[in-house]
C-alpha cells in the first residue's frame, strides 16, 4: 500500500511536469478563484473588525443622576447593579471627575471651561455591559430606580450598524460559496481536459490490469498538488497587495472609522490554512469528478 502511494506521488509529479501547460492552466484558474475569494474574505474580516470595535466602544450605558440625588442612593444603585447579570462593571462618576475628564479631553482648549461659574455636569453612573445585547434589560432595570435624570446608550446606532454589517457578511458568504462551486466546476473541467488528453493512457492502464484507485491516485495527487501551489501563490499575492493597501490607506481608515485595519500578518496566517484547505479540496474534487466518466466499467 505504501509502495503504491509512493508510486502515485512520483507519478503525480511526473505527470504534472510533463503536462505542464495543463497544470499551469489549472493552477491559474484556481489561483484566480482564490484571489477573488481572498478579496471577499478581507472585506468580511475588516467589516467584522469595525463592528467589533464599535461594539466595544458602545458597550457603556451612561446614567445621569438628578442633582438632588445623594451619593448614598447612588451607591445603593451601584451595589444592586453590580449584582445584576450581564454587567461587567458599574461605577460612580461625580461631576468633578466628569469635569476633569472633559478638561483632559479638551487638552489645550481646557481654559474655555474656566469661564463656567459652576459645574453644569451631572453626577452619573457608568455601566459597562458584558454584551451589548444585554443592554436593553439593564436599561429597563435602571428605569425603575428613582432619582435619575436621563439614560444614554447607543444600542440603536449599534443595532443599525450590526444590521448593515450582518447583511454584508451574509452577502459575502453567498458570493464565497458561489465562487467555491464555480471554481470546482472550472477546475474539474480543466482537469477533465488533462484526463481527456490521457484517456488513451487510462484505457491502457485498465488493459494492463490497473485498479481504479491506482489510476485515480496520481491524478488525485496531481490535483492536490496544483491546489497547494495555487493556494500559496494566492496567499503570497494577497499578502503583498494587502500590506501595500494598509500602508496606503490604513491611516485614512483609522481616521474615518476609528479602527485599524486587520493586520496583514494575522490575515495571512488564517488565509494560508483556509486557502490550503480550499485549494486541496478544489483540486481533489475536481480530479475525482472529472475522472468519474473514465473509470466506469
Amino acid at each position: 500500500m505504501l509502495n503504491s502511494w509512493g508510486y502515485a506521488v512520483k507519478q503525480a509529479f511526473k505527470q504534472a511536469f510533463r503536462n505542464r501547460a495543463m497544470s499551469v492552466a489549472s493552477m491559474f484558474s484556481i489561483t484566480a478563484m482564490l484571489l477573488i475569494l481572498g478579496l471577499f474574505f478581507i472585506l468580511v474580516v475588516n467589516i467584522n473588525m469595525v463592528s467589533e470595535t464599535a461594539k466595544k466602544q458602545f458597550d457603556t450605558i451612561q446614567v445621569y443622576l438628578l442633582d438632588e440625588t445623594p451619593y448614598e442612593q447612588a451607591a445603593g444603585m451601584l451595589s444592586e447593579l453590580n449584582q445584576t447579570e450581564g454587567i461587567k462593571e458599574a461605577s460612580y462618576l461625580s461631576n468633578e471627575q466628569a469635569m476633569a475628564s472633559w478638561r483632559a479631553k479638551w487638552g489645550d482648549n481646557a481654559y474655555l471651561l474656566d469661564g463656567l461659574e459652576n459645574n453644569p455636569l451631572p453626577n452619573s453612573l457608568l455601566i459597562k455591559v458584558t454584551q451589548l445585547e444585554a443592554a436593553d434589560a439593564v436599561v429597563a432595570k435602571i428605569k425603575t430606580f428613582e432619582g435619575i435624570e436621563d439614560i444614554k446608550y447607543y444600542k440603536d446606532t449599534v443595532d443599525q450598524l450590526m444590521k448593515v454589517t450582518g447583511l454584508i457578511q451574509v452577502g459575502a458568504m453567498i458570493v464565497i460559496l458561489f465562487l467555491v462551486i464555480v471554481s470546482v466546476v472550472v477546475v474539474s473541467n480543466t482537469i477533465k481536459l488533462t484526463v481527456l488528453a490521457r484517456e488513451r493512457e487510462i484505457s491502457i492502464m485498465k488493459y494492463v490490469g490497473a485498479t481504479n484507485w491506482f489510476i485515480r491516485g496520481p491524478f488525485l495527487i496531481e490535483g492536490i498538488l496544483i491546489g497547494i501551489l495555487s493556494a500559496l501563490i494566492s496567499v503570497g499575492t494577497i499578502s503583498l497587495v494587502y500590506n501595500k493597501i494598509t500602508e496606503l490607506i490604513g491611516q485614512e481608515i483609522f481616521v474615518m472609522l476609528s479602527t485599524t485595519m486587520v493586520p496583514g500578518a494575522f490575515l495571512v496566517i488564517h488565509l494560508v490554512w483556509i486557502f490550503l484547505a480550499l485549494g486541496v479540496s478544489i483540486g481533489a474534487c475536481g480530479s475525482i469528478i472529472s475522472m468519474r466518466r473514465f473509470l466506469d466499467t
Partner: protein
C-alpha cells in the same frame, strides 16, 4: 485455458456472437479470423471482461469470469496480456517505463522491476532502446515494446489484436517469430488477424467466425480456405465479393 460454452452476446438487435462453444488449451497458438463485424472483437472483449455475456459460460484458467465482480476485473486482466494493432504505448513514458508500468500496477518492488524489465526487453530484442520514447522508435520496435509490456507479468494468455496490421511484411514476420517464441515458453496465444499470408504460412490452429458463429476450426488451417468459402457463399447469394482485408 479459455473455454466458451454456448456464449451469446448481442448489442440490441445486432448479434455479437451467438451460441459459441470453443476450447483453447494452454500453450495453444490460435488465429481468429473473419470479416469485420463477424464477432472477433466481441470474442476478445468477452475474454477481457470488457463486456458481459448475455448467456453461457466463459472460463479462463478454470475461473468462471461471467460471475466475477467488477472489482476483480483488474486481477483478471493481469493474467491476460494484450497487444493491439496500434501498439498503445504511453507516449510520455520511455520504453523502460512503459514496460515497468505493467509491473508497478501489480505492486512489484522497484528491485524486481529493475531486474525483470531489462530481461524482457532483451527477450523482445530492444534492450538498446530502453531509454527512448515511443515516437523515437520504428513501428516494429514499438510493437516489440507493447509485447514486452504484455508478457512482463507472465500472463497465461496473450491476446494479439491484429498485431501486424500496421507493419510492413518483413517486420510483421519478425513479430510473428517473436510471438512464436513466446508461445514456446508456454503462453497461450490468441491472435486476431486479416493477414492471409501469415496465417497460411504459420500452419497453426485457425478459428473462423462469421456473423457471430464459428464457421470453421482447423487444427492446422489456412486463411485461404475461409476466404474461398466466403467467396462461394457470396457468389451463391448473387452478391459481390467485398474484400474486407485492409
Amino acid at each position: 485455458m479459455i473455454a466458451f460454452d454456448k456464449v451469446t452476446k448481442s448489442y440490441g438487435t445486432n448479434i455479437g456472437i451467438q451460441d459459441v462453444t470453443i476450447r483453447i488449451d494452454k500453450g495453444d497458438f490460435v488465429f481468429l479470423v473473419g470479416p469485420s463485424g463477424a464477432g472477433k472483437s466481441t470474442f476478445i472483449k468477452l475474454i477481457l471482461k470488457e463486456i458481459d455475456a448475455d448467456k453461457g459460460s466463459i472460463k479462463l484458467n478454470g475461473m468462471e469470469i461471467t460471475r466475477i465482480s467488477n472489482r476483480e476485473i483488474p486481477k483478471l486482466r493481469r493474467n491476460t496480456g494484450i497487444v493491439f494493432q496500434d501498439f498503445r504505448l504511453l507516449p510520455k513514458k520511455t520504453v523502460f517505463e512503459n514496460v515497468a508500468f505493467a509491473m508497478e500496477i501489480i505492486h512489484m518492488s522497484p528491485r524486481s522491476i529493475r531486474r525483470q524489465v531489462p530481461q524482457v526487453l532483451s527477450l523482445v530484442g530492444i534492450s538498446s532502446k530502453a531509454s527512448k520514447y515511443p515516437h523515437e522508435l520504428s513501428a516494429g520496435e514499438q510493437q516489440r515494446v507493447a509485447i514486452a509490456r504484455a508478457i512482463v507479468n507472465n500472463p497465461t494468455v496473450l491476446i494479439a489484436d491484429e498485431p501486424t496490421g500496421n507493419l510492413d511484411p518483413d517486420t510483421a514476420w519478425e513479430i510473428m517469430r517473436l510471438l512464436e517464441q513466446i508461445n514456446l515458453r508456454g503462453t497461450t496465444i490468441l491472435m486476431v488477424t486479416h493477414a492471409k499470408d501469415i496465417v497460411d504460412r504459420m500452419g497453426k490452429r485457425v478459428i473462423a467466425i462469421d456473423k457471430g458463429r464459428i464457421v470453421r476450426d482447423d487444427a492446422s488451417g489456412s486463411y485461404g480456405a475461409y476466404e474461398d468459402e466466403r467467396l462461394k457463399a457470396c457468389v451463391l447469394a448473387g452478391g459481390v465479393f467485398n474484400d474486407n482485408v485492409k
